[in-house]
Amino acid sequence: MLKSLFHTQLTLGFAQAGIASVLALAVVLLARRRNIHLESDAAIALLRGIVQIVAVGSILALLLKSPRWISVFLLTGMIIAAGSISAKRAKNIPGARKVSTYSIAAGAGLVTAVMTWAGVIDTAITSLIPVGSMIIANAMNTNGLALNRFRSEVLAHAGEIETALALGAAPEHTVASYAESSIHASLIPAIDNLRSLGIVWIPGLMTGMLLSGADPLYAAIYQFVVIAMILASSGLTSLLSTMMIRNHAFSAAEQLVLKSSG
């Protein structure tokens, strides 16, 4: 129906966005009848979402004409932003921002670089930026989950940790089991995604490839490749950030400085 009314792709896109937003707002109004007030949050989120995504689309449209190496700058900017965002999950841990940024840079950066070098990710901006950003975003989420879990574990077991310190244990040894459980917990979403791929969900990238006319089998296999890359980068990020952050939980004199009050 819409295609007959809107003849350019851009106007058609905005019309489709409008209908999707109306549907979302209808659900919000339905919730209001049950005294669940989401109106302002939902309205702001929808407005913000469309502005942000149109801005990204516009930038990508401009970048299509730019040299390929510009991708490196864009991905670096994304890594810095991702480090800053996921560090908020580790409040009270000194150095969390630096640790997050380095870990995401190493985890997402290494996997993206290796896969680009191997030819799995195309160096074209239209390929490298979306796939790279997916890898970075997932590394960011995993990093946030790992740091948040580590912080909670340390706060919940401060007594045991200080007892071990008082018996002469090395700081890294006192939190080793909490670091392990943090890594494990942070990777559950990435492993579950891989496990349920195609059964519970068909991810966005595959949907996009199908919509743009790619061979369904190749789209499916490439989606697996991306999810596997996400698991690799998330695992490396989580491993590195947990290893680095555990040292920041202690002072140079081997005192536990990560405490609920401080």
Binding site: G159, E160, E162, T163, A164, L165, A166, L167, G168, A169, A170, H173, S251, A253, E254, Q255, L256, G262
Partner: protein, 233 residues
């Protein structure tokens, strides 16, 4: 302020000089200077929030002093590595915080950090010493509060500390277990000439157990000397 500088015959093994700690704008320990003599039981008493436990945590450097320092055998304790210091100055806390597993595993923990393995016979001897013969293989989850505190004591003793810090070691126990652990600590001090610094809010316990007591109020040392002089008869 009247600070009674009681002299007890013996060597000073631990000395605090103008020791203090501030957390933000709050001074939790202020300008505390006192001596601990070899083989004595020094009690730290005072009302809740007076800085007793905060002072104790400074003695094995679990917290960092913001002023002053501590001398162990005449040497500034910052010259020792934290791990070496904490081996020499052991600690038993109000809650035992035993590690999951069995009793023997807990006792082996401290020495294992230095690569030393405690022999089964030594574990048996330590357990006998703390009144728990044959407990080596018992799971810590199945122990009573009093038994757990005894294991905690044995675990600290396995490190062969020169000084033992005790932070309200009986306050979480019932009356019967409290009496038992109290007697055990007194006999350990007497039989092995172990130097102890014990935090307690219980003035009667301080009178019963301590050679000298230091009275704290709002983080400051108000008085220290013989229990009868500081706390009354």
């Amino acid at each position: 302020m009247s600070v009674a500088q009681e002299t007890v015959a013996g060597t000073v093994v631990l000395r605090t000089e103008h020791l203090g700690r501030r957390v933000g704008d709050i001074s939790v320990v202020t300008d505390i200077s006192l001596d601990v003599y070899h083989g004595e039981m020094l009690g730290i008493v005072g009302p809740s929030g007076s800085g007793k436990s905060s002072l104790l945590r400074l003695l094995n450097r679990l917290d960092e002093p913001t002023s002053g320092t501590v001398f162990l055998d005449g040497q500034d304790y910052r010259q020792f590595s934290p791990r070496e210091l904490r081996r020499r100055v052991g600690m038993v806390t109000q809650r035992p915080f035993l590690f999951p597993g069995n009793v023997a595993g807990n006792i082996r923990f401290g020495p294992l950090q230095r690569g030393e393995v405690v022999a089964d016979e030594d574990i048996a001897r330590l357990l006998e010493r703390v009144g728990l013969p044959g407990f080596a293989g018992r799971e810590v989850a199945n122990l009573s509060g009093g038994e757990q505190q005894r294991v905690s004591l044995a675990r600290a003793l396995a490190n062969h500390p020169e000084i033992l810090l005790l932070d309200e070691p009986t306050s979480a126990l019932d009356e019967q277990a409290k009496t038992g652990v109290e007697q055990l600590i007194c006999s350990l001090v007497k039989d092995t000439s172990l130097t102890c610094v014990m935090v307690t809010h219980d003035r009667d316990q301080a009178r019963r157990m301590c050679d000298r007591v230091a009275l704290l109020e709002a983080g400051r040392l108000i008085q220290y000397g013989k229990p009868a002089e500081v706390l009354g008869a």
